[in-house]
Symmetry: C2
């Protein structure tokens, strides 16, 4: 006999089975267990859904929503679950709606530079498909090999390319949404310019599954740059690296990527991967430029000159695709390396104005030092988006508590420096208690008003964004 956390009962399970077929309604403990967590490290906590449903179209989703609405049952929509702020956790039980069966690229329209996709399409798959015909979908969250378009729209995901190309929000032209009561809403359209009423599209982008369930998205594509060139540049101090970044931007160069890693990160990468990086440098930049071949070469040359002017100690510039991939391998292995240090790794995500990066990194180090926690700092320096990765053992209560205290001080620092709580990971469950630090009371009040308008019974991903 199943024991449900929400208002679900066996009649409702029967209804769900009649909508979806028995095989797409999971009620076994073992099955549901797989959906009780996401990529967020939460220690021993377990958030078990009452049921997991696997719909394949919007009609089914609308029917599920109608049932959930009638009985006030939570719906948590998810796919790969790469969320880092507990966004996919069914903290009040109820239904986990998994979009894995809605994974079709419905149309790639080369003439109009757009595509229409279902929410379960894996980002890398879409990027590959459009790349094959010379097009480019720039948003590149680190998890893109498994994470999906639906999740990246719900979280307005970013990635290293945010500085030059913007983030997911800049590529969403239109959405099809199922609302809490099963209403199907279409927003936006197929054109880059569109000012027909309020921008509902951008209201849903980044709303973390709390306003509606994305069932289809129309995304903007751009022509693929011919050439990418990558540089790895080392500096003896964070300040020099920051000055070089300012120098690059002042020279009117907009690199596709302008990532930064600190000494701890480099040492950790070397410890596990032996990639041949210097371990005595305070800061390393990974800079990618793109464009036509000529333009990329000119940018590379200019950046090398600027970095040398600011005392760069070691510059590796890719001459071949192979060399570029080697540099990217190092950058990408950073998180994996940090994850091997201790049982858990918690990735934070703050954003500060670009010129405050060195000060923020200094403060970040001091804060985690104070709490005796190992932090490896990486980030997207172009857009001021800094990710401190903290290695710890969440079973150790003192460490876990220290992390909570350090995180709070970290966000205080980000906000004091003119930044905010999240550049690309969202608020979810983990950061909802900090919302009052970042936003004034009225903003939160009106956001809650919008939530109430679209989801009056609070059934869509309850317990997220807003601290209750």
């Amino acid at each position: 006999m199943l024991k449900f956390m929400s208002n679900i009962d066996n009649n409702i399970i029967d209804s769900l089975e009649s909508i979806l077929g028995k095989q797409h309604v999971l009620t076994d403990y073992e099955d549901r267990y797989c959906y009780a967590y996401d990529a967020t490290a939460v220690g021993d906590a377990l958030y078990l859904p009452d049921v997991v449903v696997l719909p394949e179209n919007k009609e089914q989703i609308a029917k599920i929503a109608k049932i959930a609405d009638e009985h006030e049952i939570p719906i948590v929509t998810r796919a790969a679950g790469t969320n880092l702020v507990g966004g996919c956790l069914p903290v009040k039980g109820g239904i986990v709606l998994h979009t894995s069966r809605m994974n079709k690229i419905l149309n790639i329209d080369k003439d109009n530079l757009l595509c229409v996709v279902q929410p379960g399409v894996v980002i890398e798959k879409l990027q590959q498909k459009v790349s094959d015909i010379g097009l480019f979908y720039p948003p590149d969250p680190a998890s893109l090999k498994v994470s999906t378009i639906g999740g990246s729209i719900a979280l307005s995901s970013g990635g290293p390319r945010g500085f030059k190309y913007g983030t997911t929000k800049d590529y969403v032209l239109g959405l099809e949404i199922v609302l809490a009561d099963g209403t199907v809403l279409k927003t936006g359209g197929k054109t880059v310019k569109n000012v027909t009423g309020y921008n509902l599209t951008q209201l849903f982008v980044g709303s973390e599954g709390t306003l509606g369930i994305i069932t289809e998205a129309t995304l903007r594509l751009i022509p693929k740059p011919d050439e990418q060139q990558v540089m790895l540049v080392c500096f003896e101090s964070m300040d020099l690296a920051a000055e070089a970044i300012t120098g690059i931007i002042s020279a009117k160069i907009m690199p596709a990527t302008l990532d930064i890693m600190d000494k701890n990160t480099m040492q950790t990468i070397e410890k596990f991967y032996n990639a041949g990086f210097p371990t005595d440098m305070d800061a390393v930049l990974v800079i990618e430029v793109d464009g036509c071949k000529e333009s990329a070469s000119i940018q590379t040359q200019q950046i090398i000159e600027i970095c040398n002017k600011f005392g760069a100690k070691n510059i590796r510039a890719s001459k071949t695709q192979q060399e570029a991939e080697e540099i990217w391998f190092a950058r990408r292995s950073a998180f994996g390396a940090v994850a091997r240090l201790r049982p858990n790794v918690l990735t934070e995500d703050a954003v500060v104005p670009r010129d405050k990066i060195p000060e923020f990194i200094r403060r970040t180090r001091n804060i985690f030092d104070k709490y005796n926690l190992t932090v490896c700092i990486m980030g997207h320096a172009g857009d001021g988006n800094i990710h401190p990765n903290v290695s710890l053992d969440l079973r150790n209560k003192e460490e876990a508590e220290n992390f909570e205290k350090a995180a709070e001080e970290l966000f205080d620092a980000a906000i004091e420096l003119g930044g905010s709580l999240s550049g690309e990971h969202g608020i979810g469950m983990s950061k909802s208690r900090f919302m009052k630090k970042a936003l004034d009371e009225n903003s939160i009040l009106y956001m809650k008003g919008i939530k109430k308008l679209f989801d009056p019974k609070n059934i869509l991903n309850p317990g997220k964004i807003f601290y209750e």
Copy 2:
């Protein structure tokens, strides 16, 4: 003795004077008359405000809003009044709030590539100031010599550069807003990446003054491209021009501008300005490329090759800044030339998927031919944004009625081709009756819900966007 259209009385005028000083509260008929119209041709109709106020800061605006809220008096915020859909018209009387005194650029932050401005800053002035230090604010509505940042945010204005650089919405990072009840709201921030709660910023962008009064904006800047090169390319048919456009985009070139003009437009320009353009060509493209010098030259060369392949009859490519300006002069004089044909010119603004442009232009011509109206078609071909400019005499009742009928058929055509009512001019008063064609009932319902949340008494720019 003044006769008021709204709930204003002499006590309220006294209160406004005590907030703003007597000289910043205009009640004389002659003064108010100046604010009874905007750039929209409305024939003999006159929309006289009861009072015009000229605040200089948000505190004053908050006090004005509190009074308006208490007495349910409409507030219509405006600046230069270049709106083409009746957006600035005080159709229910009340207060016109003019932002001309809030015209300060508060900060240009070169390191963080952003600026903070008041709403009354003229767009060209901001562009010039940031250009002086090597930066670029791309949004370029045709009216930029007089129109202001506040208005362009309220309308999410576009311009020729929309295809490559996006529109105003893509440059607004944060806003300070006074709501209908005088509450001051801050949205967004100083960073390009920011996912802290719902995107209230983009809800206000394009809301046409119906949700709040913009009192300050934080805008994103980008590095200024070193070089611009402009081409004027003639084609014997619209279809060939459209094929050339597709050819350019397929070659992975993203011109900064990809404007199109039809034969009527060219003939009209020649009639008044004698700019030396061919008058027997069906379509003319004005193409601007930018980037570093090398990249711009490569793009120009490739575009010339592609246009030749699609049968271009006449290509003028600028070799100097002077030549570039000559081509732009012709493009910019198009509207002025059309305006000289007859007493009035009505500019429409529709948007269709790029590959539907030739079909839409064909239908547009047929529609206006049917109603015996002269139409000159220009548009931003890169983003499918087409402006039919109709010369007529609004005192002629038949012509005015024919225009209304033609406009309705025009939007039916745009929507049938997968487009929408407006690319960059907004809905305002003129197009509110077409909203049901473009949006489903639920979208309008939820937009009205949002309006009610932020402006429960419907005092902010009433009678706009939604058909009442």
